[in-house]
Symmetry: C2
Subunit: 80 residues, 2 copies
DNA sequence: CGGTTTTATACCTGATAGGGTATGAAATGG
DNA sequence: CCATTTCATACCCTATCAGGTATAAAACCG
């Protein structure tokens, strides 16, 4: 499972809030296993579920230029 | 089906290339029905399939701040 | 207007995502 | 060091996504 940008984003944000996976799953209202798979970078996730999680972080899925996300560790994900 | 940012993005890009839905489906290697649902804004799509399509446009799914995408018609999607 | 192309909607089917859970590994910290 | 917490992996089950197709509606253009 590739550590996609998305997965790292979620991990970072979650940890920034000092939440465990079960806590996040609970707060977001999604299954624990889903959080696990999301953070593990499973590619075949359903958008709506992912969006439920991202919304919790004030974000959502959207089209992003490939360079910007693949290689670079960028603003949005990086820190704050 | 909400006309999400993503859906509009795909429609625009496809039309910009003068492709029909069947043509795009074919080029991308994804089902025609999927392209339809994607452009119609179906929220429960699988990320990997969506990414196959986006990759064709040099993009991929990534976390995006909600403001930036929801209301605004922005750079990335907008024109070229 | 009629003909052609493109798109939208509905149906059936197999494959699998997601939930729940149980177990073990790994990290954490006393 | 051992105890506790957190995380990873594997299982079963149900709901549904994606593909294919067929049909109709809609847009387009002569």
């Amino acid at each position: 499972m590739n550590q996609s940008e998305l997965s790292r984003f979620v991990v970072q944000r979650r940890k920034a809030l000092k939440l465990t996976q079960p806590q996040l799953a609970d707060k977001v209202g999604v299954g624990l296993r889903f959080i696990r798979e999301l953070e593990a970078g499973k590619p075949t996730l359903r958008m709506d579920k992912v969006n439920e999680v991202l919304r919790f972080f004030g974000c959502q899925l959207g089209p992003v230029p490939i360079e910007r996300s693949a290689s670079n560790n960028n603003e949005l994900d990086g820190h704050a």
